[in-house]
Subunit: 395 residues, 2 copies
């Protein structure tokens, strides 16, 4: 049985490169950027007026002048004007180019305008005030966004600003999610007494959707020849196969032998953790195979703990570890790493993790009340309130 650390290392040593594609920038939120974004001009591209008001030559003010004839109006989006007489002023609008020969902007609030004369009503102004100088935020050619970043609304604004209407992002893997188990019926069906509805595949679809990965789903009955023939074709067609169920010790848990017969290299089977112990992980040259145990929480936690980091590393994203403070004592005797559902609360800058009591790995409803798993190591069995551990969020 491999340790959680060993399992994660194995998974992270087996990443795939999905390649790069170009997509419209406005569709790129949540995707991983695969090119550096450069400034196509200085930012701001001109000495930019940052307040509505008048612009003057500061020397005139400094020489004691307070009344200025208005030469005209410099609107945002108009070509740059020139202040013809440096004892005059031009009205200027936020976003406009600062007129030639002017260097300082006084906002309307500090000015009286009457009969074509602007009178400045304050006695202290600064040279070059209310002007956002050309190139202050960045020079042409500067890297504004480095590649391997997950794109958010902030990056979208920069793409638009520099004219990147199409951006290079990591291609997403082609993923098939397979459920097994003859006890499963469809969501729209009424299960018989001994049946339950399929749920894990949909949970996995949603967990992948959070990474913007589209996926397909299939259900295969617990019949070895059928499993074998379908998986054989899936291995050729997809980059990643996610399974839920049929990896444990049961008489109908055919997956490990089917994988072996199909030439899947087993990298590990079973991890010293709860829930999610019977996890199978393997690969072929073209495909990574995550065989999650069939219990709902087991599938859920293993997708977060192994598939997510595998995907991030495959696409070049570095994710920072997050920690939280345990709010209650927890006792866990088995020699296994324990992933415990917790509700997170932000208290005075501290992230506090309140354990959610579930009824084991079958209790899907307990996930609804939690936000994350806290990862309690297997080198001890008593975990005290106030101790800090790694967490894995899912909300």
């Amino acid at each position: 049985m491999i340790s959680v650390k060993g399992a994660l290392e194995t998974v992270l040593n087996s990443i795939q490169n999905f390649g790069v594609e170009e997509i419209p920038f406005i569709k790129s939120v949540g995707r991983v950027l695969k090119e550096d974004i450069l400034a196509d001009r200085d930012f701001p591209p001109f000495n930019r007026v940052s307040m509505d008001g008048i612009c003057i030559d500061f020397n005139a003010f400094n020489n004691g002048q307070r009344d200025f004839n208005v030469e005209g109006i410099q609107a945002a989006g108009s070509e740059q004007m020139t202040l013809k007489n440096n004892e005059n002023c031009i009205e200027v609008m936020t976003g406009a180019v600062l007129p030639n020969n002017a260097n300082t902007v006084i906002r309307y609030e500090d000015v009286t305008l009457k009969n074509g004369i602007a009178t400045i009503n304050i006695n202290k102004i600064n040279d070059c005030q209310n002007v956002h100088a050309k190139g202050k935020d960045g020079k042409v050619g500067d890297v504004l966004i480095s590649k391997n970043k997950i794109i958010s609304a902030a990056e979208i604004g920069v793409f638009a600003t520099v004219g990147k209407s199409v951006v290079k992002v990591a291609k997403q893997p082609k993923v098939m999610i397979v459920s097994t188990g003859d006890e499963l019926v469809g969501v729209d069906e009424i299960p018989l007494e001994h049946q339950i509805r399929r749920s894990n595949v949909f949970t996995l679809v949603s967990l992948l959707e959070k990474l913007n990965i589209p996926s397909e789903t299939a259900h295969i009955t617990d019949d070895k020849p059928i499993l074998k023939s379908k998986i054989k074709s899936f291995l050729k067609e997809f980059d990643v196969l996610l399974f839920s169920g049929a990896v444990s010790k049961g008489k109908y848990d055919f997956l490990p032998e089917v994988f072996e017969e199909l030439g899947v290299e087993k990298l590990f089977h079973k991890i010293a953790q709860r829930p999610g112990k019977p996890f199978f992980y393997g690969k072929t040259n073209e495909c990574n195979i995550f065989g999650f145990p069939g219990n709902p929480i087991s599938t859920f936690v293993n997708c977060l703990v192994y598939f997510y980091p595998w995907y991030y590393k495959s696409t070049g994203v570095e994710i920072e570890e997050e920690t939280a403070i345990l709010a209650e004592n927890v006792s866990f005797k088995p020699n296994l790493e324990f992933f415990l559902q917790v509700e997170l609360k932000s208290k005075f800058g501290h992230l506090v993790a309140f354990p959610i009591k579930g009824n084991g790995s079958g209790d899907l409803a307990s996930l609804v009340n939690a936000d994350a798993f806290i990862q309690l190591p297997n080198d001890k069995s008593e975990f005290k309130s106030g101790e800090v551990f790694k967490i894995i969020r899912y909300r």
Copy 2:
């Protein structure tokens, strides 16, 4: 000039009800649930075997018996069998119904199977072990998920389990995002010296996409009659109008007067904050109008600080406040509430906020390096490293 607190109260007193719609459960991630989700049967719906192994009558073991004839195999998804002789056993698979007359499961790891006889190799087992009792996680009719929750992968699994193939969610508002400003050109265009590309509308589209709200966009030139006629029709057609620009003191900042002429009730104009001071907020009977200032960071922060909470309250969602610890001293003299970009780091269960130095409200690129805004109140001007303040995340 209204305070941030007063502005937020005003916005939250002016929420809208967008109504409720039914959508396929698998499309519902990120939407707001508008019905309680009840257990349609007990969970588990039967005494569920939770380990692969054999099941027995505990009394037989308790009486010293260790060898059990195997009567058959109870597979998951098969009808419940009956243990005919309580000195025999039945092999059982995870997920199967526990056979009648049996009450305890011993996992294969602790059993030797040979010639149709199962021998238990351990001397300590517990009555009813490895059985997930009918109804233990929930009884038929129990509320598994309460309404007004934002749906995540965890909820999707529960919907599937209880057969909710269609769920009631809050309808999304119909939103139009309008940019103004004659200095703006399209993302695909090469701007002239005095022009810049449109970016705020796309940032807003992405910020709304994060709430799963689709939106339309338009650009209107700084021409009052055109502005008036277009906005007049938008007010009838949309639930929410978001504007970027034209709300300040400039000669071409026509929006406040256009709003007035169109019968928009002004709820406030200008907030004692930086960035984002010239924010205009108003409403008609059918429409809420958010007039964000045109600077990129102003639009961004006001969307997060005012539109997000307005949307959450409109749909019934309660969002918990999040706080972080300031990592450096910050000095801010103006008598304004200060929203400062920060990078967040998780350190030993503490959330630490590192200020990102930007060049004022025009510096969109500075958002790329930050994760959140920290809200520094206007009742003081020196903020010390180690002090705790509210944060507003955008990643």
